[in-house]
């Protein structure tokens, strides 16, 4: 709500504007007060318009840095733990030329903030509006000068005993390593203000038939990279023309289960022993119980008979040989028979 004098001022101003756009929408909006403008109009331009007066030394900045910035950025702005490194990759020669030479080196890993930034105003403005990370806009202007000074000292833009202020900032700007590193000569600005190029710099081909040489797969996403974004089967719709690929690492094949621990009943089932034998009743072959009684305690003998098969002992129908039966399972079944064939 507005006190009446302010409201009166608004009305007076609106009237003063006369018959223009302001009259088109009566009752909408009001004049911003000077205090409101001061509270929110915080931007600082490359020509330093908007920069508050103040100063801070590298030494003051170092203390602040250690307390408020080093946690994310490292003591020397070098850390990549949370964000890209701020410092590194610039030289004394870059300070002279205003071009960071390492930007020409494709093998140089990464690009630090000080390799890219062309305006001290950019650093000042951003630190002022958005830093520290968890308490943005909490630094006073002198503190922003100090932190900016420390950051610049790490790239030798300022000496260790240096200071940054509204008075010297334009001179310090002249030492920024990549101050000449930007170009507006392109067609990707949707206005005419920068006098860039009109024609796009890259144009595709409209060829429709027999275009170029036969295509060759130059690079293919390796499986480890394919599988690094979670299980793709769970990132695709479950219905429709396709499914997602199951990219969960498959369990290694289970280590062969020790047959002794596997119930013999299961071994008998899976090896089709029950096709001819039952526990208590003669079927095609003798009951397991009868075998157990006759050969009690003779596990090795039984193992040999199962493996090789034979006929004549229990009748004329032969027991087939069992060459595929794993040794461990053979022994387990023989031992079970020799011990009484208990279900």
């Amino acid at each position: 709500m507005f006190k009446s004098p302010k409201r009166a001022l608004v009305i007076a101003l609106v009237c003063a504007l006369g018959a223009n756009a302001a009259d088109k929408f009566p009752g909408i909006g009001r004049t911003a007060t000077p205090a409101e403008l001061k509270a929110w109009d915080i931007d600082v331009r490359p020509d330093f318009k908007g920069l508050p007066k103040g100063r801070g030394t590298v030494a003051q900045g170092e203390t602040l840095w250690e307390a408020k910035c080093a946690g994310c950025h490292g003591s020397f702005g070098e850390s990549n733990e949370v964000f890209s490194p701020l410092v590194g990759g610039t030289t004394q020669d870059d300070i002279k030329t205003g071009h960071v030479a390492r930007l020409l080196d494709p093998s140089f890993p990464g690009r630090t903030t000080l390799m890219k930034v062309s305006h001290i105003s950019t650093l000042w403005d951003y630190i002022n509006r958005a830093m520290p990370w968890t308490a943005p806009k909490s630094l006073k202007p002198d503190e922003v000068y100090a932190v900016t000074a420390y950051l610049l000292s790490l790239a030798d833009v300022l000496p260790a005993d240096g200071e940054l202020s509204d008075e010297n900032i334009a001179d310090v700007q002249k030492r920024l390593p990549n101050r000449n590193g930007k170009t507006w000569a392109h067609s990707m600005w949707p206005g005419t203000e920068f006098k860039g190029t009109v024609k796009p710099d890259v144009q595709g081909s409209n060829c429709m038939k027999d275009c170029g040489a036969s295509p060759r797969v130059a690079s293919l996403l390796p499986d480890y990279a394919r599988d690094a974004s979670g299980n793709l089967a769970q990132q695709q719709r479950l219905i429709g023309p396709q499914r997602g690929l199951d990219t969960v690492p498959k369990n290694k094949p289970a280590v062969a289960t020790a047959p002794a621990t596997k119930p013999v009943a299961e071994l008998l089932q899976q090896n089709a022993c029950y096709a001819c034998h039952q526990i208590d009743t003669k079927l095609v072959g003798p009951a397991f119980k009868d075998v157990a009684v006759k050969y009690a305690g003779q596990a090795d003998y039984l193992a040999g008979k199962i493996r090789k098969g034979g006929n004549g002992v229990w009748g004329s129908i032969p027991m087939p040989e069992q060459p595929a039966l794993p040794d461990a399972e053979l022994k387990a079944i023989a031992a079970w028979l020799a011990a009484g064939a208990k279900p």
Binding site: L13, A22, T122, G191, G204, S205, L221, A228, G244, L245
Partner: protein
Amino acid sequence: MNDRTSAPGRLLHAPEHLLTREQLAAAPDARRGFLRRAFATASAAMLAGAAKAESAVGDPNILELPQHSLALGQPVALEGYGKPSRFEANLQRRQSPGLTQTRQASVSFAPLQGLFGIVTPSGLHFERHHQGWWDIDPSKHRLMINGSDEQMLKRPMVFTMDELMRLPSVSRFHFIECGANTGMEWGNVAVPTVQYTHGMLSCSEFTGVRLIDVLEMCGMDAKRARFVLAEGADGSSMTRTIPIKLVKSGDVLLAYGQNGEMLRPENGYPLRLVVPGVQGVSWVKYLRRIEVGDEPYATKDEDVHYVDLMPDGQHRQYSSVQEVKSVVTTPSGGQVLLDKGFYAISGLAWSGRGRIRRVDVSVDGGRNWQPAQLQSPVMDRCLTRFTLPWTWDGKPALVMSRATDETGQIQPTNAQLRTVRGKRSIYHNNSIQTWLVQESGEVKNVQVA
């Protein structure tokens, strides 16, 4: 399970998601092994209806009436705000693992592989936050308009949301794409699916007030004004420079509406800037201030980030337009095609310079192209859906799309783009995407030469 090949007609062509893992493992080899791999992890919900015995009589899904045909369903208003089906839970916006170390300065990608048409459901709209997101009380939100000097406006003004929403509004469909979309693929293939290669892309109907109307209320000096600065109210207080030419055209909106409702908090509730055709970073969220100025601002996201490194070591600054681009979403990376036979190749095309004029599709790696059908509507600086009938013969296929916009700009190949801009730009990769459909049915992200 019966032998499928001995059954009459197609009655045994049961959806694999109704089979258990064991049944799949035991299935006769009438099916390709890759299907087993693809379907083995079908959701538990789908498995619940499994194990219906197939028979020559007919499909049990027809013969045995399901519960929903035999009992009373749910009442109205069970959910005051409806949710997608429980079977759609796989379609989520997702982070790309390892891309960022903090989730407050990060991005989530929209699941383009599962979207139809051109509109992105608001809950699946990609996110990009620079210092975390907020759900701001709209009754306390203000928009301030000021000048870079006292002569730039007749008067600086403040607006409440109530006031902005009383003004005449427009509703327009536009795409929004992050300037770094497809950035991971500049040098080489890096990520498996279209969600991660192209998912920093969404499209909505935005509703709001034309910025120029509000600037005229403030009595802008139209001769001196060359730029506006847009500034957010969140911790990062994001700032970007916008050309006055675009503002004067009436294209730039102070938007509060998205797809018929208010903006989602993750997308800037209650107010964001809409800058059609321009990269997403300029669509400032939680918009609190517009400054009309005579000089550009070189903000952090114009001088340190969102600058394109060229082979000569110079960075392009204020490169903002998202140039003509397209991608096939069906089929796309990480998918497994069901079988040989008919598919409708489908994808999205867009350009920050205007309407899409045509899209061509190749299934042989770019040697031969066929014009795709553009589905209506085809709108200015908006996603356009294209489609092309395709019968897959089961042989390897290299599927690509190539868009042309109404200015005549044609989407380039990787090679054409890199010849001019090198491999280290990060931003504004609008090159042609290639998907390799392998004989196994698996679709892979590849680059061709």
